[in-house]
Symmetry: C2
Subunit: 692 residues, 2 copies
């Protein structure tokens, strides 16, 4: 049962006053939920969460995800009270340049912040990925331990808002969480019934808990308004959360009915208090209600702070107790422990890349097929590599062959055998959740997870992909069927603008290899990078595998695929020292550049072919290298890519040309489409002549 | 009760054989669902749908939406049987260049196709918009009629698949459909339990109907496997659909348990039959099972066809009966009838634009505020204009002031009064559904609907926005908070790559006006365009309203905002005939160009300022106009926009410079952000000098 003293209550009230003061000081922000969620957040951080403020990276810690990131103060003030290093001055600097307390919590920016949140829905969906990560981690390192006894056992706690529960990505991820029986996931749904347009009845009248029951979740309701008065029955909430944590056969959601902005006398329970400062008078009135001095700001009773900071010592004790178990595990699991250490350091095993396949020239192969072979080949040496598809496993070639699926045993099917610790993921037709979950897996467990879908459906994933890029999470998105080359499915399925669009995202590497051997180097380079996400973009159709030399291209020999690691490289050299024209291609269109080069050379025009699988990697090279591939002096340049040319305009320049597709596709076999839309070697030849 | 003859059964079996033959002929496609859905589709088109194949645009028709577009044959074969003009040769041309039977159904391409579908979830979500459109249309034109008696009463029928039901956008839209009590919407959920990864148990085990109950839907289950054998009890399905249609107080979903690919002897009930040709032997076996000649292809018994084509006459009769009611309505509602005629012709009332406000120079105003004033000013003269926000009404300024909300009366709140025929939309925090629903409204009713959210959340809407562009639907997306100018909410909320990204979508107009008067012309131009969607991109922060002349810019007078209609125009002219440099800005950054021009001119450098609110409109102008704004001879050019520069590289060219933001934003007041990130007039001045 819960121990709850007057000091605890005073601490909760202090949270409310600090929230109001902090927003008042900067003049904008979101005070309402920070005030009404104060008891819930405090009881979590003080009484339920297993955490150690002195070591925010502790492997054994519970995770806390604040899905409604706008109420960042809910988190910041608990981090302050718990002793994570945030101090009053940081709260005073809320939402100002360079502070540790930005408008929304930012991953890797503030100690104790596990994830960047703000775009609604992403927090809860990514937390489902955390829960996947925890289960996989346990399965990799300590599968035999009895439930609750492993150093890898812990809970993912989430606060979600009315807004989070409306977003589709949450629905997708929550359905998967139920399907996966994620007993390590506990969500507090802050049902305050107010969003920016005020009373949520105007747009949100579904029965949320019934929906979660339908997903297979354990549901509980804690209604602090049930007596007709508003009574913050913390003990009732605590009991519900204890029961939720104890339910390990399914995820849990506790609907907590709160009154936003309580107990601000005038503005509680209004849309206004959601996202605006209370105003001087209302802040003063709030303080009076709570017995604080209305003349004082950021007032924290030292006794309250000392009491709250008891977390530091309790956390250290919990950590020490856990450490004993961990040390014992380590002693008895030397091999697993070495792998864990390596993975947490985000390094790869020495010599791992010897397992990468190389592909014989001469036989055409789609890059998606090559990618599948790479995954299956490196799977055994990289246990941290796992993933799967949003219901397109065979199309995306995302299955590590021979590996078990990650599913409850009761959910195995004739086609897919697995267990809760398996390695092949099945997202169903939920692309958005797939990307968010993969982000969460990678953040939680430092494993390298990937999700697959068609490139066109990267559109569905964009908000999660952007968040991965913003956080610098090395998640991997596999995107196959990367152009009109997918053929008959037509314009709804043919990406046209997606490559250019994805390239606009800061921090995302968009990698479109030009043949099977480029695929292998692309995967190697992506896996060697631990700083940001990458998308690997693959053809459906077969394309040539080039005969290559071992080094740079010469007049007679194609360059090694090693050049992929630098983003762009000379694949086929011109016959003269200075080419008359440079042909730049990606993916399946590299072959058009290669063919055009032959025609041009036969006509006495010297042409270099540059394969440019990743503009981001190329732009990260030094100027000398870039100039060696694309000499400034050669202004005749042609890009060829079966999509809109926007991202090539800066590369080809004023004299250059782009062979591109500036409109939607059509339904026909792909050869017809390339011909009819003028994405051909002849078009490249013509463009080269125009450019010269 | 259902009349079901042997000919009906024979027709259904013919559908299956045609589906198998059509896929077999082209060698690829999706036969399985077209086979097993044959009875459901046939009973819809023959027995339930009110339609007239001779007039696919009939105002009084029911609508049919095939959400799983991959089973396009389900629709094409019914269009063939019903007599819409599709013939056997069209079925034989499935998925080939130029045919009327592309891989996925395409709006405005094939008669009888109401919507382009394929990206899962969009069909059902857009159908919810159709249902909104129907209710609003009735409210505009015939609100007093008793239920079921108005010529505007009809039903929206949807077939949805396991895949559709997993997508988040469907969840969002279905929650709204329940909330809105859309009694005119009937969904058949084809629960065949197979998707590409085979048995859906691997990823989809939630209780779908319970979820729909939670949304407030009427649910029914028709299980053709319930006897242990597979029995296609068409009468049971028919009764369920009749009951669903009769339930007019809420939307209905009928879960229909089918076996995909039935009755193909070997491949039914497998993932393989979903998306691959059956193979010659299995097609032959199928024909034998159904009593068809395995040697014949595309065999249609003339008697069957004649029977099925009875729809033409029945449709004409239904149309004639409806016409009587419509004529009577027209006679008694002359004014409404004129409005209907005008709206269906997609024209605007003469002189409507006199209602557009003009804004006085000198007082700063955010473009979102200006947009709100425009909407409120033109609302009274454009009854077809309606819309609202995804829970950001006050932030997006999307409320036509004084208008009622579009909600059931029981869902009114203290802040929002309304009725089922209201005009202000509340999407809740469901950006994706908002865009899909607006698409559906515009497609259904020819009204002009808009949805609002922050520009950053256009990411959530991308798949629907793309589909709007692909279909050429003149939906309007209002996107406010369009840059780091939103300030303290920080990088999760600050669009950086969104403008460049949205500009990659073929057929989408991205319009970012540079002051309040540009906003008015932007709205006018958007509304005058009926061919494709537009996004209007608006600032949160106040920006200057320029003092302008009535015509083109001169050395001393700024150009009229009329130039907006051409996408880009000279806002401020240089002091020399040929400018030394051209400064090109959009939105809030136009003021930086204006300020930089003054500095440059003071330093003896002549500088022209071009305001370029819409690249798509500008690129549609003739070369002479474009050259008059951006003379080829002036290669010194600077673009200034607080986002990634990708879309400006082709405009500024080799000699040009872009003042841009190539990384994510931060949390601080916006003035600090502009300064710290170097988006300043000084930076424009420096870039101009570099460019010259």
């Amino acid at each position: 049962t819960l121990t709850w003293t007057e000091l605890d209550q005073r601490a909760v009230d202090t949270v409310r006053v600090l929230a109001a003061d902090a927003v008042e000081k900067v003049g904008n922000g979101h005070p309402g939920t920070a005030m009404s969620l104060a008891p819930a957040a405090y009881v979590l951080f003080q009484k339920l969460l297993r955490h150690d403020p002195s070591d925010p990276e502790w492997t054994g810690r519970d995770r806390f995800v604040l899905s409604p990131g706008h109420t960042s103060l809910t988190l910041y003030i608990q981090l302050f009270l718990s002793g994570y290093g945030l101090e009053l001055d940081d709260l005073k600097a809320l939402r100002t340049w360079g502070s540790l307390t930005p408008g929304h919590p930012e991953y890797r920016h503030t100690k104790g912040v596990e994830i960047t949140t703000g775009p609604l829905g992403q927090g809860l969906a990514t937390a489902v990925g955390f829960a996947y990560g925890q289960r996989r981690q346990r399965g990799m390192f300590d599968p035999e331990a009895a439930a609750g006894t492993s150093p890898f056992d812990h809970t993912i706690w989430v606060i979600a808002s009315d807004g989070d529960l409306q977003e589709g990505v949450t629905s997708e991820a929550s359905s998967l969480a139920g399907h996966q029986e994620l007993g390590n996931l506990v969500v507090i749904y802050d049902e305050n019934h107010i969003s920016i347009e005020d009373d949520t009845d105007v747009a949100f009248t579904e029965d949320v808990l019934k929906r979660y029951e339908a997903y297979g979740w354990h549901t509980q309701r804690v209604d602090w308004t049930k007596t007709g008065k508003y009574v913050e029955d913390v003990a009732e909430l605590y009991s519900a959360l204890v029961a939720a944590k104890a339910e390990t056969s399914k995820p849990s959601i506790v609907s907590l009915r709160t009154i936003i902005g309580y107990p601000a006398p005038k503005k509680q329970n209004t849309g206004k208090i959601h996202g605006s400062a209370l105003g001087k008078d209302e802040v003063a009135a709030l303080k009076e209600v709570l017995g604080f001095d209305p003349e004082k700001h950021f007032e924290v009773d030292p006794e309250v702070l000392e009491h709250a900071r008891g977390v530091v010592q309790r956390g250290a004790q919990a950590h020490a107790a856990w450490q004993e178990g961990f040390d014992a595990w380590q002693a008895s699991h030397a091999e697993e422990a070495a792998v864990l250490e390596r993975i947490q350091a985000r390094t790869l095993p020495a010599g791992w890349d010897a397992s990468l396949p190389s592909f014989e020239a001469g036989k055409d192969l789609s890059t998606r097929a090559a990618s599948g072979k790479v995954l299956t080949a490196i799977g055994p040496v990289l246990p941290e590599l796992w993933g799967g598809s949003a219901d397109l496993a065979e199309s995306n070639n995302t299955t590590i062959e021979g590996a078990a699926s990650f599913i409850p045993e009761s959910r195995q099917t004739a086609s897919w055998k697995g267990n809760p610790y398996g390695r092949v993921l099945h997202f169903g037709i939920r692309e958005h959740a797939a990307a968010a979950i993969v982000n969460g897996i990678v953040m939680h467990s430092s494993t390298r997870a990937f999700s697959g879908t068609f490139l066109i459906f990267s559109d569905y994933q964009k908000p999660a992909v952007r968040l991965g890029a913003l956080m610098g999470v090395p998640a991997i998105y596999v995107w196959s069927h990367d152009s009109i080359g997918l053929g008959e499915d037509g314009p709804t399925h043919q990406p046209v603008e997606q490559l250019a669009s994805l390239r606009t995202i800061p921090g995302l590497d968009v990698v479109r290899p030009g043949d099977a051997n480029e695929v292998a180097v692309a995967w190697r380079t992506i896996l060697e990078n631990t700083q940001n996400p990458a998308g690997i973009v693959l053809t459906r159709q077969n394309i040539p595998v080039y005969e290559r030399g071992d080094g740079p291209a010469t007049g007679t020999t194609f360059g090694s695929a090693e050049g992929v690691a630098r983003g762009g490289y000379v694949l086929a050299e011109a016959s003269t020292d200075t080419p008359d024209v440079i042909l730049i291609g990606t993916g399946s269109e590299v072959q058009l550049a290669v063919e055009a080069r032959e025609t041009l050379e036969a006509q006495g025009i010297s042409a270099r072919v540059v394969s440019m699988p990743c503009l981001e990697w190329f732009n990260a090279q030094d100027a000398a290298y870039r100039n060696s591939v694309l000499p400034r002096t050669v202004r005749a340049r042609v890009s060829v890519e079966a999509g809109v040319s926007q991202s090539w305009q800066g590369i080809v320049g004023d004299a250059g040309r782009s062979v591109s597709l500036e409109h939607f596709g059509a339904s026909a076999d792909y050869k017809t489409l390339y011909r009819e839309f003028g994405i051909t070697a002849d078009a490249v030849v013509q463009a080269a002549k125009d450019s010269i």
